[in-house]
Symmetry: C2
Subunit: 114 residues, 2 copies
């Protein structure tokens, strides 16, 4: 019987990066990832933050990378994509959040001040 591989989760920034990879697909290389995140979330992100996160995700086998020579005259890019393991971790993380949010009145604003 297989050892029921205990569930793995991702940190919040890791999740954002993962999602960016999914959106960008074949264009998912560092600088572009950063651009996608800042554009969509308004959150300022240093380029170093993106790369270290990608490196670490790769070290954990959550993403894989390939360097691609860009025939179009620009320099080669290192493209990242989620592995199935990374995909599972992303799903698990999202599910955890979802199950905790379930039934809660979250989007609304009314909130007792403190």
């Amino acid at each position: 019987m297989k050892a029921a591989a205990k569930r793995e989760f991702l940190g919040d920034f890791e999740q954002l990066v993962m999602l960016a990879l999914l959106r960008l697909d074949a264009n998912a290389y560092g600088m572009r990832v950063r651009q996608e995140i800042t554009a969509r979330t308004k959150r300022e992100v240093a380029i170093g933050a993106v790369y270290t996160t990608l490196e670490r995700l790769e070290a954990k086998s959550m993403v894989s990378s390939t360097t691609i020579e860009a025939g179009d005259g620009t320099r080669a890019k290192r493209v990242f994509r989620p592995t199935s393991r990374g995909r599972r971790a992303l799903d698990a993380s999202r599910e955890a959040l979802a199950s905790m949010s379930d039934g809660l009145n979250l989007t609304g604003a009314a909130w007792k001040t403190n």
Copy 2:
């Protein structure tokens, strides 16, 4: 003119804890929070993890706490609740995730193996 308070975000576990507080409301004290999280997410959580997180959230004014003498014969509990600031941070974090997920085919399973 007010200084447009730069957006603050929460880590993933912080979000889970925050959500637990919202669900538990007046019963949101350490042990119960832990219980709620493990029950809902299947994620194993050490009690120390919950308390340190709560402490830190309080230090950042994301939650406030009050110790309540429980007339019903059980011992006093320290109850936590999100401040409006914490509430904003939670919303901001969720929105960031949501905007990155938008339009993506996420729940489904089909995924190229790697």
